[in-house]
Symmetry: C2
Amino acid sequence: MHLANQVLDGNIRAAARLMRDIDDTRPQAIDELKLLYPHTGKTYIIGVTGPPGAGKSTLVDQLTETFRKQGKKVGVVAIDPTSPFTGGAILGDRIRMSRHADDAGVFIRSLATRGALGGLSRSTSDVALVMDGLGMDVVIIETVGVGQDEVDIVKAAHTTCVVMVPGLGDDIQAIKAGILEIGDVFVVNKADREGADRTARELENMLEMRKSVEGSWSPKVLRTVAQSGKGIEELVGEIVAHKEYLFSSGTISDFLRERNERNFLEILRDNLFKKAMTFVEQDGGLSRVLDRIGTHETDPYSAAEKIMSKILGAAVEQ
Amino acid sequence: MHLANQVLDGNIRAAARLMRDIDDTRPQAIDELKLLYPHTGKTYIIGVTGPPGAGKSTLVDQLTETFRKQGKKVGVVAIDPTSPFTGGAILGDRIRMSRHADDAGVFIRSLATRGALGGLSRSTSDVALVMDGLGMDVVIIETVGVGQDEVDIVKAAHTTCVVMVPGLGDDIQAIKAGILEIGDVFVVNKADREGADRTARELENMLEMRKSVEGSWSPKVLRTVAQSGKGIEELVGEIVAHKEYLFSSGTISDFLRERNERNFLEILRDNLFKKAMTFVEQDGGLSRVLDRIGTHETDPYSAAEKIMSKILGAAVEQ
């Protein structure tokens, strides 16, 4: 029996195994994802992003609990910075898991920020698809929202919550601007701290500067204290309001189309590169190419073009 | 006359034009880069990275001045966060330029963090290559070192300076760990602030935890106050010491080989994708592919495979 069918039957072990296969980029994982695909699209994905120290993990925990109380199954995909010492994620599954260890309605998976460019956003989508197939009603994707990579990851989410905290200094302004356009809901967490009002006002001012189209969604700035649970209910309410807007306005179809576009292009990019590497191997291997660039016998641009022409001429030579 | 030859003659306008062509991804830019390539490799590249608010720009300014006093020509490639309001870089060339506007020995170029995944690291390398061809003795690449993207960018540098500041909070620890392995020199800037000693000690402790191989480079933690220029001379001294280590230990050849590998693979990835898009066009265009994914007639994995087989069968069909 295919892993995909077991996942669709709600088999958590099968889901975990498929995610491992995705992580290890085993080719059979793609076949399983193809089988899963037609049965997915039911999960609502929430992105939670913001600078380090904003209390995102605690907030995600609180959201998870609130959705569980509503009887919803919750998946969490946490993108953790990789430790250079262990090679593993700094906040691993184990730490996160312990809190919901006895709850079969919660499935948590950490992905580490390592590997090739673009790869992380791709595996996040694939892991979310498995959670979708597994029957999770809600999937929360949590990332440190600073780099372009992380911003791309949350684009997979229906509703993106941008989390800020008081007192991160004025210089952080640039980053605030960068994530301003991706937020559907803004949260000033640790709102019991000094400066919370100022941070919230600043965010509101920046949001007002954006020209909003008539009838489009206007993001609000909410205040939470994730540690104590204060404001979480209001946050869930705002997420639900955004979801209702997406569907009632018809914006959902644009969103899905853009997400499909990113997925398709990422997969294409990835496949192409893997294939190209087999041609590099046939051409004497990467090592020989680098020798020739090193001695200035060729340059990286010409070397890449040579491989290109081999790929395009492949059918003739075979 | 080719732009490349004009650049090699020290023509600053030609360099600026070539950089614009690179930005616009005009195909002729590649031909110019190929012509430049054999004449490059003389520039020493310094990476400056760290969280927002660490005072990197001021530090880069001070480094620029110090190198200028030594009679060296200095290029600066600043990777600035993109503003969602203007589409342009938040700290533009103009602001940065004004300080060195009358100095023909300083060439400053800002790149904005927009565009496709991987594209930024690629254009940073290309821009640095033009500065190399132009005869800059030193090129300083400045990035906000938080995302994987930015980390990849500074890998092009011979010597990478990681800049921290006191009082960014404990939660920033994870990011510290992430950039720990890429630093050749660590700088606690704004060292006149409270907590500078603690930050420096923490960094030193983390560095000590790394098992260092006999005879390998041991990064030091320096203190600077970029605003007043304090500690800048020591920083330049440490950069020079690292440069001497690179050459005397022979590590330079490993470094160059790894850099060539990244360059070659990035260029290959980029070319492949552009080519693939022409096949998508021939297949009815991206829009039709997305229609078919949207109706679940196909899935993104199968759609990508279809394009792959078209590329590999190209020579037969033509």
